[in-house]
């Protein structure tokens, strides 16, 4: 007589692949991203992203806009890096018209960039903890991010979609409190960042979720077009601030953060250490804001010469590019936004293969997606 154990010998046990629908209304996707997962038990075999839930056709829309209007649309791409996105368009227009902006504008733009980068990384850190079940981080990060939002609000009048850059300068001069507020913010941030490490980084559960999970090799990162902290976590030197310095980045000293682990923890550490570097940059500039005009004289209706103009900037998520093809009219002929999230999503397909479903949530957190940036 056969026993139960004989019937269930491993040769007879078979698993069957099935599809799992993740999103579009999934809290860990931070927006409306839908992933079609091919699963074998708990193991993710393949990821197929289904995009377009907030596709607004921005590239078509801007073909009917003037160059001044385009800047306001780019806020709505990666809303956490809105200042850098604005800056990319403004720099591309200035490059095309061969306008050299004053030192004051360059320094203001760089300082705003770094404040935005810290704000974005803070939000990422808070939400990342929440994704893997540590609710406290969210409260800490939002408490400190509030300080940056208030600095932004005082100068630009907006907290998130700032539209502060215009072709040839910035929209308003700095608020009289700006220097004082930034000087209060830097030591505060230096004090709380080690606190963050004690709260989350050293946690044993957190370390287990991070170490060795979601491995992405340097070769794959380059081939998949990854940039920003995702590629730097795999040991790829890709910081546009170093490779092709713009604004005031050629006059400040800072390190390009490289981690070679290629796993979740490496990407996490890159962002944590980048916040210190951003504080260094702010510290070097806050006492040396040059005098000068905050806007250069420009025509109200800007017409770019015939040609193709490309500008790359480093946002909080990676390399953002604006490619403007102009035929000499007041509207561009074609504009392409190279968004970091879209290419990083490619790398997620690679890094997320063969992991457990719960780990995919953690991997997506360390990739730090902003969905409007992917969908455009």
């Amino acid at each position: 007589m056969e026993t139960n154990t004989q019937i269930l010998s491993t040769e007879d046990l078979r698993s069957q692949e099935y599809f799992l629908n993740m999103g579009p209304q999934h809290p860990a996707t931070h927006g409306v991203l839908r992933l079609l997962l091919t699963m074998d038990g708990e193991i993710v075999k393949n990821i197929e992203p289904d995009l377009g839930y907030i596709h607004r056709g921005i590239e078509k829309m801007v073909e009917y806009d003037t160059y001044r209007q385009i800047i306001h649309v780019t806020d709505r791409l990666d809303y956490l890096s809105s200042h850098m996105n604005n800056e990319a368009v403004a720099l591309a227009i200035e490059k095309a018209l061969e306008v050299e902006v004053s030192d004051r504008i360059k320094v203001i733009r760089t300082m705003m960039d770094e404040l935005t980068r810290i704000a974005s990384h803070l939000l990422w850190w808070g939400v990342m903890g929440m994704d893997i079940g540590a609710l406290t981080t969210f409260m800490y990060a939002f408490r400190d991010r509030e300080m940056i939002n208030e600095i932004m609000e005082k100068t630009t009048g907006a907290r998130l979609t700032m539209s502060y850059n215009i072709p040839g300068g910035v929209m308003f001069d700095l608020h009289p409190d700006f220097v004082k507020d930034v000087k209060a913010f830097i030591p505060h941030m230096r004090k709380v960042l080690p606190e963050y490490d004690r709260l989350l980084t050293g946690n044993i559960i957190f370390q287990r979720r991070m170490k060795g999970v979601g491995y992405l090799s340097a070769e794959d990162a380059i081939s998949h077009g990854a940039s920003g902290p995702v590629a730097r976590g795999s040991g790829v030197r890709c910081d546009i601030r170093k490779k092709a310095p713009y604004s005031a980045y050629d006059r400040v000293e800072f390190d390009e953060i490289i981690e070679t682990g290629g796993d979740n923890l490496a990407r996490y550490q890159v962002r944590m250490r980048e916040m210190y570097e951003s504080l260094n940059i702010l510290e070097q500039l806050v006492d040396n804001i040059p005098e000068g005009p905050y806007q250069m004289p420009m025509r109200t209706l800007i017409k770019l010469p015939k040609g193709e103009f490309y500008q790359r900037v480093e946002t909080a998520r990676g390399e953002f590019g604006v490619f403007i093809v102009s035929d000499g009219k007041k509207n561009p002929y074609r504009v392409k936004f190279r968004s970091p999230g879209f290419s990083n999503l490619n790398a997620l397909i690679q890094a997320g293969r063969g992991v457990k479903l719960a780990d995919l949530v953690a991997i997506m957190s360390t990739f730090d997606f902003v969905i409007p940036d992917i969908d455009r």
Partner: protein
């Protein structure tokens, strides 16, 4: 390499073409586009030899373009095409390659998905918005728009009475 050195090096390929078979004499392999003001070298590649050249741009030791950082689908009115922005992480130089096809009804360009994996999503996007078919792509279907969507919105002759206001 600087843009000038890169240009001279690419032109030297015209003479030693062991990586592509049988090239008709009249086809210029690279047409350097001087009239486009750009900080980088712009070249145009004939569609017939496009795939072989792109493979060689990555595998050649002296060019080693391993990072495709941007792909732009273009509609030039009569012709459709794609602009590739390539960078070498080893050498640090940048090359802008363009390829065009005059066939608007059934435009086809070979895929570069097997050379740079990032092209997988970018080519799906260009297919969706401009209707260029990338031959050999593993999963070419619409990415942003719904599968039953008619037309390709980024084409200049795309008509939509409701969404696009014509002045």
């Amino acid at each position: 390499m600087t843009a000038e050195e890169l240009k001279n090096y690419l032109q030297s390929w015209d003479d030693s073409l062991e990586f592509i078979e049988k090239i008709p004499e009249e086809v210029a392999l690279f047409a350097a586009l001087e009239d486009i003001p750009s900080e980088w070298l712009n070249v145009e590649v004939p569609l017939s030899h496009f795939k072989g050249i792109m493979q060689h741009l990555k595998s050649d030791e002296n060019t080693a373009f391993d990072y495709l950082f941007n792909m732009t689908g273009m509609d030039w009115g009569q012709e459709l095409g794609v602009i590739y922005h390539l960078e070498s992480t080893r050498h640090g130089h940048i090359l802008v390659v363009r390829v065009r096809t005059a066939d608007r009804e059934n435009p086809e360009i070979p895929t570069v998905e097997d050379i740079w994996k990032t092209a997988h999503l970018h080519e799906r996007e260009i297919y969706d918005l401009l209707g260029i078919r990338f031959t050999g792509h593993s999963n070419l279907k619409r990415i942003f728009l719904t599968p039953d969507f008619q037309g390709h919105p980024l084409r200049k002759d795309y008509e939509d009475d409701y969404m696009i206001l014509r002045k």
